[in-house]
Symmetry: C2
Subunit: 404 residues, 2 copies
């Protein structure tokens, strides 16, 4: 598997988070000798919160996490994640698999099963071989290590071409608070899985309500603003654990909120950079909309348009397709106030091609690997930024026959 041309130069150096330990192993869920299970253990008193897919056909693991989210924050907690099988569309058997994994983990770690959160990523609709995961739990417990987050990031990869990590540190009254997160996948774009999974850890002290509030608001501005192929997964999961090991209370702390949002955005953009077949990274900046919601609607409509995405792959400054995508978005728009730019080059303004438009200048810009498309609707103050990648032959190659 060739690494995405948009990948960062290397995996970042992630700090150890007090109160969190990791382990990763090969359990043979689908393929032999592939690291496919990770376990994270969070110290007593840790707060756990999360955001999840809104799909009406979401997986058994997601439903179980949602039921547990906001429950009693006592004792230690655990997160168990496998690749190779998404345990989605597996009916009652799927729910039984989740329960079996949670009970076994609770027993091995001597914790409350209500504090065990699981995720599964991989093929949809196949029975889940949960026994293979359960058999590895004792070994995983013995391997738990505070420095093993990079191994965990690799364990949750399926057809990702690089592991995704991000971290931040802030100083609060002379004390250091750390945040570290890992992610995998990109919407439903990777062949043998169907999931974007994100796990973030901090040694900050914060209650569940406050943490959940931050995550929900920031998910809307980060992970919910990226798209690779418009196909929402049955299993998208973000879980964050706050151990409090730093002894620093961060409720209402704006620096912490900004640092957390920075980590979430970094992970989200790494997911786009590993979009299937991607050769271009595209930021779409929408301004002048009637509302922020309308701006996001326009941004996602453009980011999901196959015609816009293939034009970008072909390095073609095809603003006509952007106009059409704005038009179909459902957002309020006035064709004659619409302006479009590529980077700093205005190609169209007030509903017509810019009089100074230069095909040569614009074509040169389109050859870049990182592109900015600016869309000003000219009718209000609403803004939004979304991120996507191009649509290439490689996407078809990867997805035209993955099950066999």
């Amino acid at each position: 598997m060739t690494v995405s041309p948009l990948a960062p130069a290397s995996f970042p150096s992630l700090p150890e988070i007090g109160g969190v330990r990791f382990a990763a192993m090969a359990a043979g869920v689908r393929y032999a000798s592939r690291t496919d299970v990770m376990l994270a253990e969070l110290a007593e008193g840790s707060t756990v919160a999360g955001t999840f897919t809104r799909s009406s056909t979401r997986s058994a693991a997601v439903l179980d996490c949602q039921a547990k989210n906001g429950g009693p924050a006592k004792g230690r907690a655990a997160i168990v994640v496998n690749s190779g099988n998404s345990n989605a569309f597996t009916g009652k058997a799927g729910a039984a698999s989740v329960a079996a994994i949670c009970e076994a983990t609770a027993k091995v770690l001597d914790i409350d099963p209500a504090r065990v959160f699981t995720s599964s990523t991989g093929v949809i609709g196949e029975p889940m071989p949960h026994d293979r995961i359960i058999a590895k739990l004792p070994d995983l417990r013995h391997a738990l290590d505070g420095t093993a987050i990079a191994a965990a990031a690799r364990a949750i990869m399926t057809t990702d071409t690089f592991p995704k990590g991000s971290a931040a540190e802030i100083n609060v009254g002379g004390k250091t608070v750390r945040i570290a997160g890992i992610a995998k996948g990109s919407g439903m774009i990777a062949p043998d899985m169907a999931t974007m999974l994100v796990y973030i850890f901090t040694d900050a002290k914060i209650g569940h309500t406050a943490l959940q509030g931050l995550l929900s608001a920031m998910t809307d501005r980060t992970f919910n603003c990226i798209t690779v192929d418009s196909d929402t997964s049955t299993s998208d999961t973000l879980i964050m654990g706050a151990t409090g090991a730093s002894g620093v209370d961060v409720e209402g702390n704006a620096d912490f909120a900004a640092a957390l949002e920075g980590v979430m955005l970094d992970l989200a953009l790494q997911v786009v950079r590993d979009g299937e077949g991607a050769t271009k990274f595209v930021e779409i900046q929408v301004t002048g909309a009637k509302s922020d919601a309308d701006a996001k609607r326009v941004g996602l409509s453009v980011a999901n348009s196959p015609l816009v995405k293939t034009a970008i792959a072909g390095q073609d400054a095809n603003w006509g397709r952007i106009v059409a995508a704005v038009g179909k978005s459902g957002a309020e728009a006035d064709r004659d106030r619409l302006s479009i730019r590529f980077g700093d080059i205005t190609v169209a303004r007030d509903g017509f091609r810019d009089p100074d438009y230069s095909e040569d200048e614009t074509s040169a810009y389109m050859k870049r690997q990182e592109l900015v498309i600016g869309i000003d609707l000219g009718i209000g103050g609403g803004t939004s930024t979304v991120w996507t990648c191009d649509l290439t032959h490689r996407y078809i190659d990867i997805n035209a026959d993955y099950r066999s």
Copy 2:
């Protein structure tokens, strides 16, 4: 240009419609020596009605047609269509081009400019060379011929691989009523254009309100139920003219309504069969939804999913991707009541893989050129059928660089 493998064997024999004459010529709108303008003239007393794109960035020609639709039905009427330039996103200059074409046509044919309807298809955002069309109008008028509808069908093609036509005849009290229609394009999928255009003619006698009512209802069940790539055009236009030459009043006549819907559906499906790069024709039958609207939402979500479309291209019976597309549709769904079939083969029922599932049997079915996907939501009586094609490498080839 290779003809689509899904094309009909030949262009149908379309009947002459009393009161309608056609002409088609090469005006050099974008390319030399390519037939790119058609003129249709409708006899005095003809009713004209239409349905149009809902895009908020729709073209000047569409806006003009909408303003004229339902106007006074006196005198003759005309329809002028060009390919090569869509006159969309062309600001005030675009509106001026439409006015110039309508006025010139009205003068050449000696009719009311309010009875001239125009459409334009081709590249978006380029100034419209309307003088080239106007220069051909006298020749077009001299060439008008009641038997030239097939030439008109060819004149409105751009990158279509075959001309699209359909006809029906019904008998009303011993008299024959005829319907004939032509269409081009497929959503926004063809490279050098941005339009689905449809023109239907009948010698039936019917008032504007009744005809418009039929068209609006039937468009929702035919053209609005097809998708190739989810990209709605700035220029989609359907215009129908009823000359009354048969002397048969068809208001409230169920046979006429059924015949018209048959012609509209036939043309719509021909558009899908010419979907860019299409190698499979797919009918998606949704049943058991909470409402018909929910059923259509599910059908279009599946039909627009790039993951479902690439799986079909790869002849892969990937029902997991169908489950995910149902889940993201926004329609009410219960994962554990969902059943999915390919043709007559049930692959999943009640939220789990069918116990009798046979990979060999299903794989053999997926090799067919025409596929049926059945989705039963199991929660209500809502139904809908939508049609689409697969997503192949050829789609990327065609769209990655069309402007140059």
